[in-house]
Symmetry: D2
Subunit: 336 residues, 4 copies
């Protein structure tokens, strides 16, 4: 059901924010694949909070421990690879008062409706952004494999709080922090080096697969490829990218198609953008209700809050894209 994704490179993410542990099991890795654990840990560290002043200062111990699937040389043995991250803070008492007062913009109310009394409300439970850590393990491994195939993935924020210049983005974050508020943003991701002809038909096209994966990241509310929503104002003669032969290979002039035609790669860079809503956790007082009585209450979320998750989400977007692309490449290899 949605914790598992992929056809060949397939993984299952599990855990809750305050459970004893979170983790991921990855199937489909060919035996003999070397995993550079140090590099992987550095990648994981990029999504950790407290990396800079623009993130929350909560300390999380995000050390991936491999419980199975690797030999002493850190090569895959052909069995599933399981990595586990222990949660250090498993006290859930802090969240008791929130159990019946859904935080606006959070999954609380939807989770109540779906899972009822027995759900894990602490720290967002299974909906916590903390679950992006195991996604980064799976995606970080995918990135290492893609690199060996000459494929490079890089993401960066292109808008935060309505601003597109880096300095102003950071200003908006500072302001939000000072106000006990938060800001949203847009991350752009570029995947270079994927040959033409990768991608399955219809619902398993590159766009479908990347979108399914990226919308699985908490707070993502939009995904677009190439000229994206902008193409709604363009004419075909403007939006079509003419084919040219250049530098010894077929290319296009312009890349409004974002490297994907008919769901299949064209060999041009794959370009997509993901819109992140402002973190719903804010220090400001908000309106909510007590679902036991349906009475209106004023809610003030205590403790740490993160004014902008966009910076931390950059490696998560890279991980999601890598996982989607690697599976498509594995599927393509069957066909050759």
């Amino acid at each position: 059901m949605g914790n598992t994704i992929g056809s060949i490179f397939r993984f299952t993410i599990w855990g809750q924010s305050h459970a004893p542990a979170i983790g991921v099991t990855i199937e489909g890795l060919p035996a003999g694949t070397h995993i550079d654990r140090e590099k992987l840990q550095l990648f994981l560290d990029r999504r950790r909070p407290g990396q800079n002043q623009y993130s929350t200062t909560r300390k999380e111990s995000d050390t991936a421990v491999f419980a199975a699937g690797l030999n002493e040389d850190s090569d895959t043995v052909g069995a599933p690879v399981t990595a586990i991250i222990k949660n250090t803070n498993t006290r859930s008492s802090d969240y008791n008062e929130l159990k019946y007062i859904p935080r606006p913009g959070h999954s609380d109310y939807a989770a109540m409706a779906k899972y009822g009394e027995s759900r894990d409300a602490a720290g967002g439970g299974q909906f916590s952004g903390r679950l992006t850590a195991p996604l980064c393990i799976a995606g970080g491994i995918a990135i290492q494999i893609l690199e060996k195939k000459g494929i490079k993935i890089s993401a960066r924020p292109v808008m935060i709080g309505g601003e597109t210049e880096e300095e102003k983005m950071l200003e908006r974050i500072d302001e939000a922090r000072a106000d006990g508020d938060s800001v949203g943003g847009i991350i752009e991701c570029v995947i270079e080096g994927v040959p033409a002809g990768v991608g399955e038909p219809m619902f398993d096209g590159i766009e479908s697969r990347i979108a399914q994966m990226v919308f699985g990241i908490p707070a993502v509310k939009g995904v677009e490829f190439g000229s994206g929503f902008g193409c709604a104002g363009l004419k075909g003669s403007e939006n079509n990218d003419p084919f040219i032969f250049k530098d010894g290979r077929v290319q296009t002039e312009g890349n409004n198609h974002g490297g994907i035609l008919g769901g299949i790669t064209s060999s041009m860079p794959i370009v997509f953008r993901a819109a992140f809503k402002p973190t719903p956790s804010i220090a400001k007082e908000q309106d909510s209700i007590d679902i036991r009585t349906n009475e209106a209450v004023k809610l003030k979320v205590k403790g740490r809050h993160d004014p902008c998750i966009v910076l931390r989400a950059v490696p998560v977007v890279e991980a999601a894209a890598a996982a989607a692309i690697l599976d498509e490449i594995f599927l393509s290899e069957v066909r050759l």
Copy 2:
């Protein structure tokens, strides 16, 4: 593999633009589900070209013939339901000259790279918009089932050629037709009546599932939910929708979350928008290359062309949304 989608309400779409037939096989329909064939045909007719002056005038015979799965009362028998649409124009000779000259913005080049010489180049082959007809059969059936559950789906264009007013949208289409050009647009879809708590975790959340399905529609380059890309310029205090108790049920003030929190429904209307690129087929001369020689050529696509597919795509978006939602609802029923 992507021609099949869904966990319980699962279907496989097959066919090419000029193959003898196109069709769909649907699994997972409970036995005894009545299908109103006349209503389904009317729904199918909404996506047919030649419906009005704003669409291409090609005649297509889109009559769904049920080859299996229904009894004489048009009730499902518990076996898969297969519907077939015969293609009347199966001559592919018209397309011979295009076989080696990829049309800009089309799937031609990607298909060449993926499928090679044996591919079906005629009329876009398996990438043809014509394959949205079987999607409309599956989705049209889903709509009928959802209606009985009190769920209503409706889509409409909210932008065409950069315009948001209806009259101006049609003007842009007329201009594009006169110019031998085309225009893109945005369709908004609203799903009302889905109770809170529907949607699977993480990668099978409502957003992931709708996006995977909708990006399977040719020409879609962006999908966003609720405030979507707009939320990148908002603060948390602006974007969070406060909970209220009104008309005897929990609701939110505002619907920036588009009816989905943590991938799960909140009982508010599900709202999403899909961006359609301008039809790549235009009458204007374009630059391309002959992939046999890599030499530049001027390409002029002959015959009919459709200046705007957005109007016709409206029922297709409804169909895709219905199929995704029905599967999520079926999955939810297991849990209760």
Copy 3:
């Protein structure tokens, strides 16, 4: 959901005995795969009734018509391949009296319980042996692909009505026909030429995959590999097959393991047997009940009956085995 099977070479079988048509849609065939239609039709003809005196004489028109997925050279285009067989006898009135009186040994009662009033009771509906025809199309195509890879599949009856000699087997069938009765049997299938190392771990091992497929054939009640049930009386020192190096390659002396160790191929021939129960349709009077009143009734099934389906089932077993093995081989190719 079970009408679809396979990970890469994946197909969906649809239809009922007396629906307008039955058919199959196959995904995952690499573009450019040539299908020898004449050879495929000859394969299909092997399972048709009325081929010899030892089968029923009902005439069935089992001509596979390809509705999509092949080009004019009969090569796959990369899109799903759909083949359709029209049913000539779609009158279901003959079966009305059976609708509420379940035939012993048949699926009738289970189908009533599962699908209720709207089910298709005519001729076994979706449970009819007729649905093995589309399985033979998918499997027949798999056989052609496997042949090009040097893999050969052949099945034969090794027991019928308790007899293991060919002449006596046929005697038992003749006797059963004369008595209005039927006999069961065992088919053995050998797959030669699969290299070592094919098969996925655990639940997708060769045995798991072949068994899932073969138990999908109506009337199969047992599947065993190598020494099978016989190994329950053997010692390890008798059942273990010693490794030897012979004819330039690693082999085993003996093949109690049936070519499979740990679910993975050893390069020795894969050997399995499937037990078929006697056809439940017999002319003899049997005890049943009328499920409307729960009263006991004497049931005498009229019309044609087939005293032994084992001969006709031989190509079906080959088809099932081929489909399972081809998918495992496709999965193996990803890993290399």
Copy 4:
């Protein structure tokens, strides 16, 4: 890919015999499902070696630790449930000499061919019988859920070393131990209380699903339902089970069909048998080859050996059956 199985009640088993840990992640458990951990541990203990003189005396610590998915009341929270068993003996040096000399009857050679040099050869790696422990966790949970639905599963050995009487079975095991040899056997499993109408069509019928699961247990070489292979010597008039109305419900006289007709339950007890080969690990000298040189070698496997795994396999068969049936029941609930 085969470490994951199931449509709704879906789980992924991971680990190797001498990896740091083994475990299982289970998706699809409805929130609020209580898990009796003590009862589960008692179930797990039934498969542990060293339980009696008829099993190996190796001590294994099979304590299931729940890392996620349960709240403090041991109720499911709606997130995947992950249980982990730590391996205490992770030294793999004992197995170095075996790395290039495949043990007859073991997965060694097939694993070499599939996974190459980087594979985990220690203690059978991912092919170890030890991996049946996580299967017993998933299945043990399924058993608890089925019990609440009035469904009872029980298995027992019906043949060991060719004997069917209990005392003689144990004698054969004692003899085998004394000889440094091993014996195989047959386990019969009965599932009572499943209502009529459970089971999906064709390849997801009860027989297909149970067989796929049970063949995933190491050493299983045959699976049969009801009269099974015995039906090959029966006539239809003997094998068909007449319907009767008794004790207020529809039943059959006799149960040659093993509770399954057309892949769907009939409400009669589901009965199947699984054939286990003699443990390939024996103390006797055997013939093998060194795959580096292809030279013949005499192999004598040192250390503990288990003369008969059939007794220990009883709960594993129950677990496999329970997991298969629960998933089918969940799928049936969608339809109702």
